[in-house]
Structures are given as C-alpha cells and as structure tokens.
Symmetry: C2
Subunit: 413 residues, 2 copies
C-alpha cells in the first residue's frame, strides 16, 4: 500500500472544528487506500504563548529547555487528532519526535535531522492504524528534545515522507498553492501547477515565504514529491518536484519583490587580497545576514563592494563596516534604505536566452531605473527604488505572462 | 551529598510569580548543601483544560492518547522551572518521565511504576545541576507515555526519592500539613507533627484527601520519609514515616467524617457458600466501588449483607443487586442515603484498650445513634445519621483531645 504524508499547519488545527475537518480529509485518504501519516504543528498561537510564558521568567531562556517546552504544543495537537479520529471510528496512534526516534544533531532550536526509525510507524500503518507524528521536534543522541526551528513541521513531514518512501507529501496551508507572484501586489497572479525544488528555493529565500527552505532541500535530496495545497477546499495545489521537461519551455516561473532591505556601498576599497574576507567576517561576527554581494573594480587599485541586508540589520552592519575603515581603507560609505529587490526565477533560463533582455526592456519601457543587478543560474535580481516596487513587479509579471497558466503563454524561443 | 526531593502541586506553580517563589525555595535547599530534585505538576487548571479539549472531540477518548496529551502539562511546568532557575543563576535541567525511563506497566491513565533509571538524574546532580522531573507520567516498556492517575505527581516524587535514596521527600501544598481532622468542620483541629504511613493510608482512604494513597504505599514500601508542608511559609509540616515508639502513646491520631455515601442492606439472604461472592462480583462488574462490608447471620439459613458505596454509585449498585435477586434469594433491600461515616484512626489502638469504649461513650452522651460499626486494626468507623455528622465529629475530637498537640494530651492507659 502506498503511504501518503499529510502535514497540517497551526491555523488548520486551531480549534476542535478545524481538527475535525482535517480528520475528515485524513479519513478520505485512508478510504482511498492510502496508509496515512499525519504531521501536525501546534494549535493556533500556542507556540507564541509558550514563548511568552518563558520570556516572563527569563528574557534569555536556555535553548534546551525552550525545546523541551515548545515541543509540547505539537504533542497536544497529535494526541487530540488521534482522539478525534477515534470518535470518527478510525484507529489512530500519536507519536512524539522522540518516540519515532527522529534523531537530530544536538543543536537546540535549529536541529537538523540525521535519521528516523520507521519501524514503529510502519508497524502501526501495517496494522491498519492512522499514524500521527508531532512536527517540529526530534531528539538528540543524548535523548534531549530538540526542535527544528520555525516552520520545522514542514521539514518533519518531508523527512518522514522520505524515510517511508511516501508517494507524496501534502502540505496543507491556508493558501491554494504557490503563486507566480504575491497576489496581494499583482492581483492577476496565478497558481502554479508545478515548480522545481530549485525554483522554490530561490523564491523562498527571496521572501515568498511559502515553505521552510530546509524542507525543500530535504525534498530535493531525497526525491520527495511535495504538494502544497489548501486545507479549505479540494482543489489541487502546487506540486514541488524535480525539474521536468515541460518546465523548460517556461522562461520565468515566478517573480518576487522584497522591500524590507537596505544596501551598503563601500566606495573605493583598497583592492587587495583578503579585504573582502575582512569585511564579511566582521559582518558575520556582528550577526548580520548578508543577502547579495556585488564587487566591481573601479581602477587597478580600487574596488567598490556592495551588499544588501535586512532593514533590521542595517545599524549593526553600518557599525561593523565603520569599525574596519582603518583596516580595509575605503573612501566612504553610501547607504540606501529606500530600495527594493525585484527577482525573476525560472529553470527555463538555463536553456533560453533573452530573459535578461526582456526583463530590462520591460523595466526601461516603464521608466524604472535599475541600481544594480545580480544573477544566479536560474534567477535575475535587480535593485530598484522602493517607490517603484509594485509598478516594477506588475510590469515584469505582464512581460513574462505570469498572469496566465503556463499552457496559455506564448512559446519561448 | 544528601539528595532532597521537592514536589510542587499545580497551585504552587500556577503562574510566573509562584514558579519564581518555588525556585527560591529550591535554591535555598541547594545552598543548604542538598542535591535537589524537583517534581512538579501541571500549572493551575491546565490538566482540566486539556481534558475539556479532548472531550470536545470525543466523549470517550482512548486512554493512550489521553496520557500522551495530559503528560504535556507537567513537561511545560518543569521546563519553565528550569528556565526560571537559569535566570536566577542556577544551572538546571528538566526531564520528562520517558527521559528518566520511569518504566510503568502499560495500564494507561492509572499506570504503576516498575522502575526508574537514576543514572541520568544522578549524573546531572553530580555535575552540580538542579534536576526537574515532570510528575504524573512514565512510559511503558513499549515506550508509550503512561500517566499515574490523579495525584500521580505525589507518587512520582516519592518513587524518585526512593530510587535516589533521598533524605526526605517534601510535598509542597497549600495547607500546613496533615490535621487531626478537617478544620472546616472542627475549628480546633491541630496540625500533626508526625503520622505513620498506616494511619494516613486509613485517613486518605476515608476521604481526608491529603495525599495520593499510592504515594504513601510507595513511601511505606521503600522507607521514604515524606514531609507534607506549605508552599506559602517556612513552617515545618507533617512528617509521614514508619511507626515510631512515641506514636504508641496516642490512642487516636485523627478523625474523619465522610458524607457522600449510601448504605444498602440486603435482608435475609440465603446463607449459602458463594452467595456473598455472587453479590460482590456483580457489583464489581457494574464498576461499583464498595467501601465497607458487614455480614451478620440472622438465623442458620439467613443472613443480612450490608455495604456502603459512594453516592454516585448508588443507582448502579441498586440495579446490580436487584438483577441477582433470583440467584441469591433475599427478602428485600433496605437503602439509606442519609448516612455519614465517622472514623477514628490511630496506631495506638493496637496497644491500648478502651478506644471503642471512649468512642461509643462519647457518642451516647451526645445522643448520636449508631447504625453499624466496622473496624480495622487501627481504625473504628461508625455509620450515623448524616444530620448528626458535624456534631459527632466534634464530640469525638474533644473526647480524644484532637484539639491539642500530642504532648499536651492526657497519657493513654
């Protein structure tokens, strides 16, 4: 029998009525002949409430104890799920991360999964039970409870799907799937039927925020078909999978705009080996997360080094760079906090020329100035004025027909 | 270094302020040179709330899943405790019942402890940490979470104290200790300095409700000195221990009154071997808990069988007995739901005559009629009219000087 993993997020299990609705969906899958494993998050705002309880006692609580505390939210959900399924006539059994020996490294609050013992789960599935597993948690070799970080239940679900060689891992959420862009900005955005792991990784890191990046990496590594879909209806969502031939016909799959960021240009840095390393090791020490880096030579001795950071990190980034002025010798800093980053993503870029051409042409036509450009194999990003962000996204979405299902778009060259 | 186990009940850890106050007490014990192990219950009404959440989904939830669900309350308390201790500068580590391998039988919702692995606890204590253990829970050989029933945290604490050979197990509660009788009824009741396991077992089963009976049995079996005391002050409470010589000088240690009960007299039962067994096996099948049983021969062929039950069990008890009328041949039932049971308890009864004499004399003087009498080695109980319950308790307390500390009482003969 094929195994199906279903993951329900906190909003999908927030109260008794929603748990019952989720159970009905689980039962439908069981009736369709699947062995079903459910992974669930803590109910509603429970995790935030527990964090508040802890912070009231200690502004800087030890991470081991926070993991022990926060893991209880997911355990409550899965036992309540089993209790509800039992009332609906189905035999179900819930497990903590420790009970299925989801072994992680010992890094509390952001542990990484090392292995899962599928024996107990498989035994229960084979005896006809629905299995529920508390998401977000595992245990270290030392048997301490560890958690996987925010959004970690996605990773739990994909990892369990990988370990059980599940047919699919369904991620139930309150949106219909992954959209070509943010529908709040570009109303004509359409849901994608499928997207590759690489594309969604680029989109996730660019702020599309659909799924936890680590869960996608896991899915890619272990070849898990991930289906992001709505817990409110029966519509198919978006399948996240390996690159398939038909994806190649599409130049650009999605576009994003990220606004909460700033850019620091370090002007006329001494262009000596090791200077870039000095700058970025100082930023790392200051715990600044650097997004994109651009370096350009301006003469044989001098270069400009630019990088973008989240707005919240700007003060510490500025301070860190100022501290090393006498070490790396630069003329001045040029800081912009009025920028946005527009990105287009698509595996089709690998095989199609003309993406940059069409992108820059569309922006020029709309009179949108480009501050700087960075690219990866399947992504082009432009720094633009924040004021023009919405207009730029709309322009680009129309240029790449992101308002149409893929089969209605003009064929790429 | 001597180990001290401290157990805090739900009201003693209901909010951040109370947790901090309990932590201060833990720290004081650590400063006094003890290795401290804390066992805690779920905060405030958490367990009741989780039960309500479950019942909303299923009026008859499976016990394995209830155990998984309810165990989270205690885990939250101990991790918060560790978080608070850390803020106060003390290194602490919390454990679930599973993490310290508190192995129980597999009887969900009322499991019995079989063994505890003290290695991990002792290792942490020896490294200078304060150890916190979630009460009320263990795990079966199968690694399922099991709970010990209401009041089970007392049992967890005493069992851990036994396993670690602790100097003492302190049970913190919202009363000052164990009283000679219920101070709400007899205002002059005094706190006992000490009481034997046997006496408190009789008092607990008679409804004094100070501590979980199973925890006392555990303490008796493994010789754990239990100290019941208030979490609101520093006063010494009541020590529960083995019988010591000075206890023998006291005829009666405590008195109780139990009102929520009823009595069924089965009149003129055929006095044949096996008839009593039939009656009580039928009652057991009907899940009726029978308190006291009295059988008296009324002729060579006939006997009266009487028993008391909790008021809530009366309808099913009546039905069960009526069902077997044709099997055991009796004339009629006589049911009283207007009774109360007055009991006096004391290990001194073993060596002193005259307890019954003084008890019945005092009741006669106060014109209190006795319906029936049952006794154990250290207890005498009388069924009386419920209307006279308070007056009877007061009469008896004065007769046995339960309003005075033991050293101020007249010496027993």
């Amino acid at each position: 029998m094929a195994v199906l993993v279903q993951k329900y997020g906190g909003t999908s299990v927030a109260n008794a009525e929603k748990i019952r609705r989720a159970c009905q969906r689980v039962i439908n899958a069981a009736k369709a002949g699947y062995q079903v494993v459910v992974v669930a998050s803590a109910r509603g705002h429970q995790t935030d409430e527990l964090i508040a309880d802890a912070k009231e006692l200690n502004p800087d609580p030890p991470t081991r104890e926070m993991d022990q505390l926060l893991s209880t939210g997911e355990i409550q959900t899965v036992s309540l799920f089993a209790i509800a399924l039992s009332a609906m006539g189905y035999d179900a059994i819930s497990f903590t991360g420790s009970q299925i020996r989801m072994i992680t490294d010992g890094v509390h609050s952001k542990a990484r999964i090392k292995s899962i013992d599928t024996q107990r789960i498989q035994k229960e599935l084979d005896s006809g039970r629905i299995v529920l597993v508390a998401g977000f948690q595992g245990m270290s070799e030392n048997e301490d409870v560890t958690t996987l970080g925010r959004g970690g239940s996605d990773t739990s679900a994909v990892a369990i799907a990988a370990a059980l060689k599940a047919k699919e891992c369904e991620i139930y959420t309150d949106v219909d799937g992954v959209y070509t862009t943010d529908p709040r900005i570009f109303k004509q955005a359409v849901k994608m039927d499928q997207i590759s792991y690489d594309e969604i990784l680029e989109l996730a890191s660019l702020g599309a925020g659909v799924m936890h990046s680590r869960s996608i990496e896991f899915g890619k590594k272990y070849d898990v078909k991930i289906h992001v879909r709505s817990s409110l209806n029966e519509n198919p969502g978006t399948i996240i999978t390996h690159e398939v031939p038909q994806m190649e016909g599409i130049m650009v799959s999605g576009a994003t705009i990220q606004k909460d960021m700033a850019k620091i240009d370090i002007i006329n840095v001494d262009n000596k080996p090791g200077n870039a390393a000095k700058i970025f090791s100082h930023l790392a020490k200051a715990k600044v997360v650097v997004y994109d880096i651009i370096q350009t030579e301006v003469s044989t001795e001098k270069a400009n080094v630019s990088f973008t950071v989240g707005m919240a990190d700007l003060p510490s980034a500025k301070k860190a760079v100022e501290t090393i002025k006498d070490e790396v010798y630069y003329d001045k800093l040029f800081i912009r906090d009025d920028i946005a980053e527009l990105s287009v993503v698509g595996v089709g870029m690998r095989t199609h020329y003309g993406v940059a051409d069409r992108l820059f042409g569309a922006l020029a036509l709309a009179k949108i100035n480009i501050d700087s450009i960075t690219t990866s194999e399947i992504r082009i990003s432009c720094i633009i004025d924040k004021k023009q962000a919405e207009k730029a996204l709309e322009t680009v979405c129309l240029a790449f027909e992101l308002d149409k299902p893929t089969d209605q778009r003009k064929k790429a060259k």
